[in-house]
Amino acid sequence: MTIRVSRRRALQGAGALAVAAATLKAPAIAQNAPIRIGSVATLEGPFATGGQDAYRAMEMLFQAENMTIGGRRIEWIRESSNAQADVALARARKLIEQDNVDFIIGPLSGAEGIALKDYSATLNGKTIINGGSGAADTTLRNPSRNFFRFNTDGTQWMAGLGTYVRRTLNVSEVTIVAGDYAFPYAQVFGFSLEFCRLGGKANYLWAPLGTTDFASQIAQIPRSSGALVVVHGGTDGLAFMTQYAQAGGNLPLIGGSIMADATMMSARGPHRRLMVGMVSGGPVADVIDDPQWNDFVARYKRMPGAFPSPSIHAVNFATNTMAAILALKQVNGDLSGGQAAFQRALQGLKFKAPTGAEVSLDHNRHAISDVFLNRIEERNGQPTTVAFQRATQINQTLGVPEAQFLALGAPSRNNPGCVAAS
């Protein structure tokens, strides 16, 4: 007797086998199981190069540990979002629920951060460590006990600038030109808070994102202004500076944290004349006189595709990844017990970020750290940001008691933070 197998039979059999194989659950191996780390950054959309640079820095740090901590191998699962909150949330859910990661490092942009903070609050025994997102409310209002952020936010990045303008430049009135959206609101708030507290007076001119003609705004700058604070980014900043230079403007310039970025520095045109000497605030600069930073940059430059200097996203992700690695080492890779020990270790960390800034966390699990005052200098024919001063141990409320800071309300164009000392 022969056994005849038709093609349909064979296919059915193969299908059944596949289902059976998928059903078999892999036996759990607790001993030396790998540590599964997920990450969310933007590999698509407006911040794609920033996201790639962030992963470059993370890879560098994991490789330095030989992909092993506490005898457990690191398994790193990278996901990509496009800077939209919903997409970041979908990716985080996949990492936690499908890929079963122990914790997530990410995301990169503000609205994503707030979405993941809310998601982390619904989790038990899982942790999300921020990547580079910098919206204040990710940790300031309704914080989540599972969300940790070791980088500073947009308001903190302006720390020291107001004092510099009021005291060092001895300017009593400034005009602030800024983009009409969340990130400039936060930055303007940080500047005004300090500047007005020291008795300064500020005028505000807001322009929507994507404005190309600033001529009427430039005409509105009061003559009494002693300095100009520009909180635009990318092409908006370039358009403003070009027109301001063409109009013969010569007020001392103060910039927001994304003014001194690659778009502004590499473009040619009349704005170049004004850019050199511009002072800005931020968590990072091209040149920081600190051995930790020099070492970090040297290692970073050896990575394939690296930029001449690490981007702000690379530094923020690196800071948060360093925190994760240090805390993992403290608990010797032990994430059992609902990660309680790991989260305690994160909370108690005190370490030096790649920039050489000391980082620790406040009670909302947000970074208290140093920010830099940078000046643009011409070095080897290239405009370069050089850190010349450091505002040390800035907290999220810029030294204002938290209740008082919260009472000021969220930053907006109607609430730019200019409150005189009481």
Binding site: V19, A22, T23, K25, L43, E44, Q52, R78, E79, S80, N82, A83, Q84, A85, D86, V87, L89, A90, R93, K94, E97, Q98, N100, G110, A111, I114, A115, K117, D118, Y119, T122, A135, D137, R141, N142, D180, Y181, A182, F183, Y185, P208, A410, S412, R413, N414
Partner: protein
Amino acid sequence: MIAWLQSRAGLWTAGGFAFLLVLPAILPELMPANQASFWLGNIFGRAIVFGIIAMSLTFLATYGGFVSLAQMSVAGVAGYVVAITVNGAAPSIVGGLAYMTAIPLGIVAAVLAALFVGVVSVRTRDIYLLMITLALAMGFFRFVETNIAWFNGYEGIRNVLGPTVFGLPFRDPHVIYYVSLLLAATLYGGVLYLVRSPFGLVLQGIRDNPRRIAALGYNVALHRVAAFGVAGFIAGCGGVMMTIYNIGISPGSVGLGATINVLIMSVIGGLGHPIGAFIGSLIFAFFDTFAATIYDRNRFNTLIGVVFLAIVLVSPDGVIGLAKRSYAYLKAKSAPQRWDKPT
């Protein structure tokens, strides 16, 4: 109803619904528990939620002939109204309302917004309708992105956790799944019923020949606006579910990408029948989640694009068109004696 259930379409529908009802019991047998709950909440649940929004577009396109790109915005109106008015959202804009009040309010707002879209676009067709609804959608997106006082701008409104259903929190994947499944089934049944009603027949008449319908004495413009209102109700239900599923809403949910995604779901599923919206949405959810695992992480959008392109290329009327044709082909092959009867 009984007769319809005995028809082939009715049997398929009832069978499919029964399968989806027991799916939560089957999934844990196929995969580890945590993955089963992921698939339930974030593949099937998500597919049903977005399928509802896509169905509002499919309804308009299939029975009215209007391809509107404003459906995601209409869903967003419902989502934003819930987020603005409900208790517990962060930041609290108006707040104070329970979900039982906020949700109907959101759906009413969505219907009003959809009627507005219908009135604005009542004299346009085809590509012009597409453009005007796209313009409205982008206008709404820019508005919520820049308005801080009501919509909290770019960061949006978060922490919309959803009500408790029979004492269970909404965040449980089973609750999200079953609530959206029952809602989708009700709306789906409603659409199938509506298109057989006089209103639906007039709507299909307008699709085929608006002048003839006008000559018969029907008010074409009014029927068109009403169809947008019905689609707005469906999109509003989907928008509320989407907001609760995403634990909040931000401008990204109603941006250009999201608007186009709804169109993609409808088209790859097939614009011939409301079920296409859910099939398309399931395919979309699957590839959107797993493309990066299947293919290179830096280039996974290429895979998503290729799959969608392949579906539309092979079958201009989407997956349901493909299924219909393969069924007809198989039937013809297995029953050669009936060659004389053209199918």
